[in-house]
Amino acid sequence: MDAAAALERLRDISSQVRAAVIFERGGQVVGSTLADEERARRVAEEAERLLAEAERQREPTAGRGEFAQLEIALQGGSVFVVRDGDRLIAATTPPEPTVGLVFYDLKSCLRELETPVAPKKRAPAKRKPATRVKKTDAKP
């Protein structure tokens, strides 16, 4: 599935996501719900910096787990960043969203990107109506 289709599906299944930008590690935008490409690029840049700061917050005593996801809850809404390998998605929602559900939808969106589009099933071949041939037992 391509990024545009994955984002379209995300908007269909999640009523809470206002805007979303999919990008690669390094800030390259893969897809976005924002009409303005420059804004999408800047969102990806800010999210990339967020990621770097979030990774710095990991306690030294904690395990070796890499950054997986974050939520920033603000008065004006929430910002989510979810990672799946080298691909990330940053999304915004209204205040007090259903956090678990938003994380799940964003993760699903990233995973759908990886799965190749399933080939369309071939329609069963139409059988030709059998034509009866009258046997003629006529002996010469």
Binding site: R42, E46, L70, E71, I72, A73
Partner: protein, 67 residues
């Protein structure tokens, strides 16, 4: 008469305690915060202004850009 007054007082007290708890819970939920989750299942929640502010600022910037 006295027992009725005691009962009324107790009910009022319990009601105000429950109200305060609910109000504080709601206030805590509305507070600005950053929750970071890592792959090993650990999670860091930043609520203190000095540690959360740099990330909150970036979050506000993203909200503004995505508007």
């Amino acid at each position: 008469m006295r027992s009725r007054n005691v009962l009324t007082g107790t009910l009022l007290g319990a009601g105000s305690v429950a109200g305060t708890l609910l109000f504080r819970r709601r206030l805590a939920r509305r507070r600005e915060r950053v929750d970071i989750y890592f792959g090993d299942g650990s999670m860091v929640s930043l609520t203190k202004p000095d540690e959360a502010e740099p990330l909150l600022r970036r979050g506000r910037q993203i909200l503004e850009l995505a508007r």
